[in-house]
């Protein structure tokens, strides 16, 4: 798949959003709202439920499907309170030894006036900081757009998986093109340069697994559901020390070993 095709596919309106994954994979999902600091960010869905019979915390960035929903969800662009809402659930998951599943689908953290006033940078930094040592397994799946720091704030995990037609990038192809060539219409070319497809990122060691879209088939997204449940069980069986050491080393080696 060409890079820009993945970008377009990831942005497509017909794509399943985080909510779809939760509805199909999680039994008895109970949504939990708010960051207890400022408000409830509708771009982030968080809560608890059962995955193949085992309790799990699920945090998803939700874009919405209809126009009204998209507006309600701020087009899947979270404000600081969204990341802080996620962090509260992360802490609860740690307390109750529940593994965490993050479903990432965002063009990026919301670049707004209020977001900056309320510390967008701090909120993202704090999530990564806490996720790096949270004493419970974390699995993140980039199900659509993986837009820069806003995506990474929910992807400091033991493993990161990607849909085969998703993308994950440090900057949007449009943003890169306007910086590189002062021309945002060259996004297609920029997308190629950024190596943002699942295949590229697997070979760069940024992700562990590429999920074929066929895995989403079936009433419960059967193949994906089974793979997630089995991975979380595997990670939960690890000693906490090993779990955290492996998570540390996962990121430690990224970008080369510089020997």
């Amino acid at each position: 798949m060409r890079a820009y095709e993945a970008v377009q596919a990831a942005r497509s309106n017909r794509r399943p959003t985080a909510k779809t994954y939760i509805d199909r994979m999680i039994d008895g999902f109970i949504e939990l709202h708010g960051d207890r600091r400022f408000g409830d960010d509708h771009a982030v869905i968080a809560g608890i439920g059962l995955l193949e019979g085992a309790p799990v915390t699920v945090i998803g960035i939700e874009k919405g499907s209809t126009t009204d929903e998209k507006i309600y969800r701020n087009f899947g662009q979270a404000n600081p309170e969204g990341y802080r809402k996620a962090l509260r659930q992360i802490k609860l998951a740690e307390k109750f030894h529940r593994p965490i599943l993050c479903l990432v689908d965002t063009a990026g953290a919301y670049p707004g006036l209020g977001a900056e006033e309320r510390g967008q940078g701090e909120a993202i930094a704090e999530n990564m900081y806490e996720l790096s040592t949270v004493r419970t397994p974390v699995l993140s799946i980039i199900v659509g757009e993986g837009g820069s720091g806003g995506a990474l704030a929910l992807a400091v995990a033991d493993e990161v998986w990607m849909l085969e037609d998703a993308y994950y990038s440090v900057i949007s192809p449009e943003g890169a093109a306007s910086i590189l060539w002062k021309d945002s219409t060259q996004a297609e070319r920029a997308a190629e340069c950024l190596k943002l497809t699942a295949t590229d990122l697997k070979s760069l060691g940024v992700i562990e697994r590429i999920i074929p879209t066929t895995d989403l088939a079936g009433a419960h997204m059967d193949a994906l559901r089974a793979a997630v449940a089995s991975k979380l069980r595997e990670k939960q069986a690890l000693d906490t020390y090993d779990l955290l050491e492996e998570r540390y080393q996962r990121f430690r080696k990224m970008g080369g070993d510089f020997q």
């Binding site: 670049p111 900056e116 940078g121 990564m128 900081y129 190596k195 540390y248």
Partner: protein, 285 residues
């Protein structure tokens, strides 16, 4: 006592202190203050910390000049000066751009790391360099900062970090994004081992650096009027379709909103850092 809770600090990344190179003579012999246009001898201006004596504007100064200004004379030893990144994505023009920046700035990478004393207090220190692609964080920058925090944790030393960066280095794609997580993980381990991190936000601190270690300091100090924020101002203006208020994302704005501990004049900062370090000194266990 050397607690090594996690078994890191492997020999291959261990710090081998080397005498630092002398600061490269400034490219331009004269510098004019971008605010009041007063003209100065660049070397003299850098020696004074790069603050305009007429209008108090804090100029961007090279990382090496900054360390020379803050470290006690002769106390700075540099770590991993030769460490440099490659071009993992084969990104158009990256090698050319990086090479030009290296020649112009005299630095191999966007951050200088090492150990020094400030007012007699032993500390690890890093300073990011505006001349090397505006201190942008690629894999090598992330690696040096990560190693510094690992070293500091092992030696039970504090870290003083001068953040100055346009953010992640786009030309290294997702690998540069991952440096945010890599450095953050090391900062967290250093913190969990009881280490102090004083983060100093210099002009500019934005994007992926703002959203990672810059905001993870136990104490965060911003330089006057420094631009510090996550999203770029043009992007925000385009999103909200209105002009941004004056002073938006400046150091004083962050202080007002509660995101930094203080805004401190660079000429008073050395004394302030020394006091903070002294208050956090760990007595020999």
């Amino acid at each position: 006592m050397n607690r090594n809770l996690f078994g890191w600090g492997q020999a291959d990344t261990a710090a081998k202190p080397v005498a630092p190179q002398l600061p490269k003579p400034p490219e331009q012999p004269y510098t004019s203050c971008p605010e009041c246009k007063s003209l100065y001898l660049s070397e003299e201006l850098h020696r004074g910390g790069g603050v305009c004596p007429v209008c108090n504007h804090h100029l961007r100064i090279p990382a090496r000049a900054r360390i020379a200004f803050f470290a006690d004379p002769g106390s700075f030893w540099e770590f991993w000066p030769e460490l440099q990144g490659g071009d993992p994505l084969d990104f158009p023009n990256y090698v050319k751009k990086l090479t030009q920046a290296r020649i112009k700035s005299g630095e191999t990478e966007g951050v200088i790391t090492g150990e020094c004393t400030i007012g007699g207090n032993q500390t690890c220190i890093f300073a990011m360099d505006p001349g090397l692609m505006m201190g942008s964080m690629g894999s090598a920058v992330g690696e040096k900062i990560t190693r510094l925090f690992e070293h500091a944790a092992e030696k039970q030393l504090p870290v003083v970090g001068f953040c100055l960066s346009g953010g992640a280095r786009m030309q290294e794609g997702a690998l540069s994004l991952m440096q945010m997580a890599k450095t953050t993980s090391a900062v967290k381990r250093h913190s969990d081992a009881g280490g102090l991190f004083v983060s100093v936000l210099c002009d500019p601190t934005t994007g992926g650096v703002m959203a990672s270690f810059a905001m993870e300091g136990d104490i965060i100090i911003a330089e006057p009027n420094a631009l510090c924020g996550f999203a770029g101002q043009r992007v925000i203006e385009q999103t909200i379709r209105q002009q941004l208020p004056p002073g938006f994302q400046r150091a004083e704005f962050l202080l007002e909103k509660g995101f930094v501990d203080m805004v401190c004049d660079r000429r008073e900062l050395r004394g302030r850092l020394a006091e903070i370090l002294r208050l956090h000194r760990r007595e020999a266990e």
